[in-house]
Symmetry: C2
């Protein structure tokens, strides 16, 4: 297992917690100097708060640990391609690198719909690596939405 | 004074609080059924948190008041065009309408750089009205950055 796959496995364990809570199963970890300093998962329905995506949770926690809004020596690992809000937050936090597992064809903003992480007119661009444990990350999402469609729970819309 | 100008004046009062705190002077209010239910201003440096933009503050507060992540009967007033993070959060929160004062030519995502608020491939599009009290909103920003450049404070970069 590569180092990136090791961190993505930790992000997947967070995504599983979201799955178990009935949330869209996305998880993330923040790595700084080879150490995981923050873990988080999507909690939008539980928290009744549109800001509570996995990436936002760990950016919030990491800023508290680093003691700065600039997370310039952090790498963010997330199981699914970030949405516009999370991609924008990554740019705001000046995070230099993002690793994600699987694409989000409905709202992904690391190239699928827009490319917020690499917009030359913004004051920060992000190095992106994709496809790490892609099959596992994608499988958990498929499993969730298959169950969701069966149960027809209208509050669980895809991001 | 129109109704929109009245709400924007309240957003400007919030922006002034940011100015007084040495923060990039952006303020916002959330209106629901004609009532202001949340007020907020940019606190990024004070909070040492990249998520603490004016719009994020009021989305967070409004979700707590409404008791849902969907703010479908709210109108967001903000003095400056939203950045990618805030524009993405507005889409996530399903806010139907945004009114802003002045454009942000460096990071604005209601048309200036990207148009996150009106991307047909996302699952939500936002009605946008711009230019309300434009001169006052722009003046406060100019005043701030003039002072900033004089004091050469490196932590106060434009959003």
């Amino acid at each position: 297992m590569t180092e990136a796959e090791g961190y993505m496995k930790e992000a997947l364990a967070e995504a599983q917690k979201a799955f178990d809570a009935g949330e869209v199963p996305i998880g993330a970890v923040m790595v700084r100097n080879g150490e995981i300093i923050a873990r988080g998962y999507n909690l939008r329905n539980t928290a009744k708060n549109p800001l509570c995506h996995a990436e936002m949770e760990i950016i919030h926690k990491a800023a508290g640990i680093v003691g700065d809004w600039r997370l310039e020596d952090c790498v963010l690992y997330v199981t699914v391609e970030p949405c516009p809000m999370c991609a924008g937050a990554i740019v705001q936090a000046r995070i230099p690198k993002v690793v994600f597992g699987t694409r989000n064809n409905k709202a992904g903003c690391a190239g699928s719909i827009l490319n917020i992480l690499n917009e030359p007119r913004f004051n920060h661009q992000v190095l992106v690596e994709e496809g790490v444990l892609q099959e596992e990350c994608s499988r958990l999402m498929r499993l969730f939405f298959r169950r969701f469609r069966k149960n027809n729970a209208p509050e669980l819309t895809e991001e």
